[in-house]
């Protein structure tokens, strides 16, 4: 369905006619805080990747490369699980973080 489509042009009763289109739904728009990842402090323990209830920790070749803000809901579990000595993930208010949401 086209974003902003009117009632005359959408399938009736909430039917979804396109299979697997959940990938097109960006679920990361209700964050209040966002995890900001500091590459220089990261020890690559991957605990954040293990504990993320979504799949919002981006990993390439066994190493964390960042956070998928299109799907991260800002729950803060990654920052809590990040070992204190590393403190590579910190939660920052959205309006302070700026950037793309």
């Amino acid at each position: 369905m086209r974003e902003g489509a009117g009632w005359k042009e959408i399938p009736r009763g909430g039917l979804i006619l396109e299979p697997g289109n959940a990938v097109a739904y960006e679920t990361g728009d209700w964050r209040t805080f966002r995890p900001v990842w500091h590459e220089d402090r990261c020890i690559q323990c991957l605990l954040c990747w293990v504990y993320c209830p979504d799949a919002a920790i981006e990993v390439k070749d066994g190493k964390v490369t960042g956070v998928d803000y299109k799907h991260c809901k800002g729950c803060g579990i990654c920052a809590t699980e990040c070992p204190d000595k590393a403190h590579a993930l910190e939660m920052v208010r959205e309006e302070e973080a700026g950037g793309d949401g």
């Binding site: 009632w7 399938p11 009763g13 909430g14 979804i16 006619l17």
Partner: protein
């Protein structure tokens, strides 16, 4: 005399209309809403069969032969389920009959079956309907054309198995089309028409066929039935454009739908209900061509020149028709408006039909507990509000005081929990209306002789209780 089985026991709608024309000297439009029969129509001779309302409805369901029926028994609907289970057990239908543990499950099963592309039906009453509540909205919101007879019964508490309309009236805003039936013949006819109304691509909404518990469901009526072939041809084959069991065109039903699209889907649903206003008379016309029995959104009886009328739905319409005839013989200009379709509500037709009257009593077999009148009353009066400030056509006013606004509208709550309503009760309602018209203020319960034996005003003077003891 029992309502619904009294004055018109063996009459069809057509016969009734003809009788009205013959007996009413002033019958310019005795049945304004009745659809004209096609030119050259010759009524087929059909065998009459004595059936109870539930037998007639179970027969209609057998003849429709839905793909799936899931139902749970509840008085007074029980023998529909019993009869239909026999049809399945005897191999008379190929329907998949699902025995469930509750009405919530029954409605959930037919929602699933309908989403899967099946023609699906269930049936219930009273607390069974109440238990279906959340799933009623899922059926209508998902636009599933389920057909469900509702055998009207009072809601607990206190527990009561007899007729009133509080069950279906509570579901009036659930997005289901509601057809109401005066007798077993109309209940049978409504079930068959409901299938086509529900499945029309312009509608795609579930339909309730309401008829009065015991008064209609358990009383025998000599009625005319179609052949199995005629019913199958009339309802046709259900071919949904989308279904869960179509692997080539996968579809998701009932997804999360938030602030970005939910409102648009509700707007579609409102449009579908409005479209039913056009579809219901079309289906009725096709049915009239087959049977000679024509049904509109409502039926008007001796209303064209009436000064006072009652608006009623269900079996009490038969009693009211009898009383109208009796009053007419006495020279009193009484009329009747029988509402057949409550959802979609035929507001414009209602206003047109009632605009020339002086006083109208809207009969509610349900209190509604709004402290401002029953549900039918509120909708009828609301339909008339558009008449404010309009000068009615003076030519339609026979004589006497002609109010410049819409008619006086009062509410009469009656028949709760199966309390009988006899012709004397309906006459009391007309007495009240004629006293209003003649300018005599009806007095309260102390005014012995002014109000007849059974009509009691409530503190809200627009709402009267018929047949209740003080």
């Amino acid at each position: 005399m029992g309502e619904g089985v009294g004055p018109r026991t063996a009459e069809t709608a057509e016969g009734r209309d003809r009788a009205a024309q013959e007996s009413a000297p002033d019958a310019a439009a005795p049945a304004a809403s009745a659809l004209p029969l096609p030119a050259g129509f010759r009524r087929a001779r059909r065998k009459r069969t004595a059936l109870t309302g539930n037998e007639a409805v179970a027969l209609a369901m057998r003849q429709v032969e839905p793909d799936v029926v899931a139902a749970y028994p509840i008085t007074p609907q029980t023998d529909i389920v019993q009869f239909f289970a026999s049809f399945v057990a005897d191999g008379r239908v190929k329907t998949e009959f699902v025995t469930v543990e509750s009405e919530h499950s029954a409605m959930s099963a037919v929602v699933g079956a309908s989403a899967a592309g099946a023609r699906a039906m269930t049936a219930t009453s009273a607390n069974g309907l109440a238990l279906m509540w959340e799933v009623l909205y899922i059926a209508s919101g998902s636009r599933l054309p389920i057909v469900m007879p509702v055998v009207n019964r009072a809601l607990s508490a206190p527990i009561n198995i007899h007729c009133d309309h509080s069950d279906a009236m509570g579901a009036r805003d659930s997005g289901w089309v509601q057809l109401w039936s005066e007798d077993a013949q109309e209940a049978y006819d409504n079930v068959i028409q409901a299938v086509r109304i529900a499945e029309d691509p312009r509608v795609l909404l579930p339909v309730m066929v309401c008829y009065d518990g015991f008064i209609i469901s358990h009383a025998l009526l000599n009625l005319e039935v179609l052949t199995d072939e005629e019913v199958k041809e009339f309802v046709g084959t259900y071919r949904p454009d989308r279904s869960l069991l179509d692997p080539d065109r996968p579809v998701t039903v009932g997804p999360l739908d938030l602030y970005d699209f939910y409102f648009e889907h509700k707007r579609q649903q409102a449009e579908a209900m409005a479209a039913a206003r056009a579809v219901i008379p079309e289906v009725a016309a096709a049915y009239a061509a087959l049977t000679g029995r024509s049904y509109g959104m409502m039926e008007t009886y001796r209303l064209a020149d009436a000064k006072a009328a009652v608006v009623v739905l269900g079996s009490a319409a038969g009693t009211a028709r009898f009383v109208v005839d009796r009053l007419r013989r006495e020279g009193r200009k009484a009329g009747l408006l029988k509402l057949r379709v409550f959802r979609p509500f035929p507001a414009c037709e209602m206003a047109d039909a009632l605009r020339g009257l002086h006083a109208v009593a809207v009969m509610d077999r349900c209190d509604g507990f709004s402290a401002a009148g029953g549900p039918v009353f509120n909708e009828v009066r609301s339909a008339l509000y558009g008449l404010h400030g309009e000068r009615p056509d003076a030519a339609r006013r026979p004589q006497g005081r002609a109010p410049n606004g819409p008619p006086l509208v009062v509410n009469v709550v009656y028949g709760l929990g199966g309390r009988d309503v006899d012709p004397g009760d309906v006459e009391a309602v007309f007495d009240l209306l004629f006293r209003h018209i003649e300018g005599e203020e009806p007095r309260g319960e102390d005014g012995a002789g002014v109000l007849s034996r059974s009509l009691r005003p409530s503190p809200n003077t627009e709402v009267h209780y018929l047949g209740v003891r003080e």
